[in-house]
Amino acid sequence: MTTLLVTRRMTDHPTDSHTLNRYESTGGYIQAKRAMDSSREELVEEVKASRLLGRGGAAFSAGLKWSFLAPARPSYLVINADESEPGTFKDRQLLERDPHQMIEGIIITAVANEAHHAFVYIRGEYPKPARRVQAAIDEAYAIGYLGQGIFGSDYDLEVTVHLGGGAYICGEETALINSLEGLRGEPRLKPPYFPAAKGLYMMPTIVNNVETVSNLPHILSMGSGEYAELTGNDDTGTFMMSLSGHVNRPGNYELPHGITWRELIYDIGGGITGDKKLKAWIPGGASAPWFVPDQHLDLEVTKEATAAAGSMLGSGAVIVMDENTCMVRAAERIVRFFAHESCGQCTPCREGTTWLEMILRRIEEGQGRAVDLDLMVDVSDGISIGLAWPPRMTTICPLGPSAVSPIMALRSYFRGEVDAHVDAGGCPFLPTTRGAPDGTNEGDRRSEEDLSTSGGRGSGGRPPEMTGEDVDRVGGAS
């Protein structure tokens, strides 16, 4: 039903798609060699015409990004392989299974942007992908495709693999640049620090995602026109989607834009585990506002349709939640993530995400109050004004506003579920929305007895880190 581009080789040749031999025997590096003979203008125009959008989450035109490169030199290329958005694991597969495809994309991007040093910033928790990429880079160096005078030309290109240290924020391009410079991974203000103007070492820098550059050999091979025509809509080419949660067939899928969410979850994902009902899903990674079946199931999976419905495709991570999932706990888990990963520069994010986490935890643990949802909306308003989409940020980067997405979901769709927690003095669902050890999700509601002994006020459960009074006071002052 679909054209495979970036996952074609690993699909056809599952045992050796990562090797130079297989890569070259299936057409690899031809486009990089061709790119050597092209001018910067030609390459930028070709990629612009393909309407390739960045696959890291922001979905910005890759060609346009390249066109912004300031004239100062040296320029640098940084590949963002710091894949850390909860739900996302597509770059891991591209790195492990087809590293030469990315390297060819690196060569094309470097030539187009006159860069002679590229960095691949891989998250520290991905040592195996890093080993595969390094092995492929070593192969490319050995045959003269990287290093001094690549492909027999006078063009030098060094590639350095850099391991991250376990910080989600380094996926934000200016934080990544700081991290690569040996500083704390704190985002920089834009303007003035647009990487294309003042990036790595204050020099013009292109930061592109793994999947984005992995598309480049295909764009040059088929031509931007054909690439742009692959789908019948504005989102060109294919899109890697990571399916996880309560679906029968989780995994990465390379899809054309334009199928519906129903097709994605029920046909491609095989439906909900245990034939349960779908309660909600997150369409584009933990940062994205949630979707619910009665409003969004038949929408098209495109950037435009998703944006029009108030969310985003983001990193392509689809997290599916069945009818037995506690929405308060799911929200808590996502907000906890952003609180943990906040770099701490901006007060609304540093303080706000922590408040939200504590309020959600107290609701889940039976200390919730009737005003808590409104309180969370108020705190959220301080991070992301009006809880609008796209966010009206009060922060340097979008991390803080991302933490507000689950609060938007609770307010819009699951107010009753929050109230039920408050009324019952605890979570009306299983304690951890857990799957049973055999992998089935036996999410029956907790018995009355459980509720009365483990969730209620003053019970022996874990004490909240902050009392309701504290949160009220601090929150009320904003």
Partner: protein, 207 residues
């Protein structure tokens, strides 16, 4: 006068040569310092500062920013259980509970022997094979609470010198995010990422 062995110093020089500015080598050198001492000591961070031409305070500001730089003594095996959203939905909290219960080591701590450290972590990019754990950042997908208990017992009895992801996936794993395709012999030799250019990787053959 460096505190590091000649081999480690050679490695440090080589790492620094990969960057236009030596300060950029802070992160890889921090891993090197961890490999040298088992965790990040004050002396190790001071050494990194010398190599990178910055102050020890600047090194600590970087080290304290990231979760993978362990500034406390860490076990030979760091067992990280993912409890982020996708793993949580499929029982990640139960995996953490089983690991803590079987090992007697709660989140963020290390056993008396210095063998096993346990932590819960945010998303490790294994959502399609949830719930997932890592041992010294080597991945195991599709874990059950019982398999997680077996993993703890195995680490304590077998005490593998090299922690290999394929071996552990075979012994303790289940469904994966995607077909891993190719097996490899390299693995981790301590609680830091196994990556040859850092000199922190081990091979079954090489010992």
């Amino acid at each position: 006068m460096s505190l590091w062995s000649e081999t480690t110093q050679e490695r440090a020089r080589e790492i620094i040569s990969r960057y236009p500015e030596k300060r950029s080598a802070v992160m890889p050198l921090l891993y090197l310092a961890m490999a040298e001492d088992g965790y990040l000591t004050n002396d190790g961070m001071a050494e990194v500062a010398v190599w990178c031409g910055i102050t020890p305070a600047q090194v600590r500001s970087v080290a304290s920013f990231y979760t993978m730089y362990k500034r406390e003594p860490t076990g030979e095996y760091l067992l990280s259980c993912c409890t982020s959203i996708s793993c949580m939905l499929l029982g990640g909290d139960d995996i953490l509970g089983a690991v803590e219960d079987e090992s007697g080591v709660p989140h963020g701590e290390t056993d008396d022997e210095g063998l096993l450290s346990v932590e819960h972590v945010e998303c490790i990019g294994a959502c399609g094979g949830a719930p997932a754990v890592q041992v010294n950042y080597e991945l195991i997908e599709g874990v059950t609470p019982e398999k997680a208990r077996e993993l703890v017992r195995w680490l304590r009895t077998a005490r593998p010198k090299v922690v290999n992801t394929d071996e552990m996936q075979e012994l303790f794993g289940g469904p994966r995010s995607f077909d891993w395709g190719i097996s490899e012999e390299d693995g981790a030799i301590g609680p830091y990422p196994a990556f040859q250019p850092l000199g922190t990787v081990g091979s079954e053959g090489g010992g």
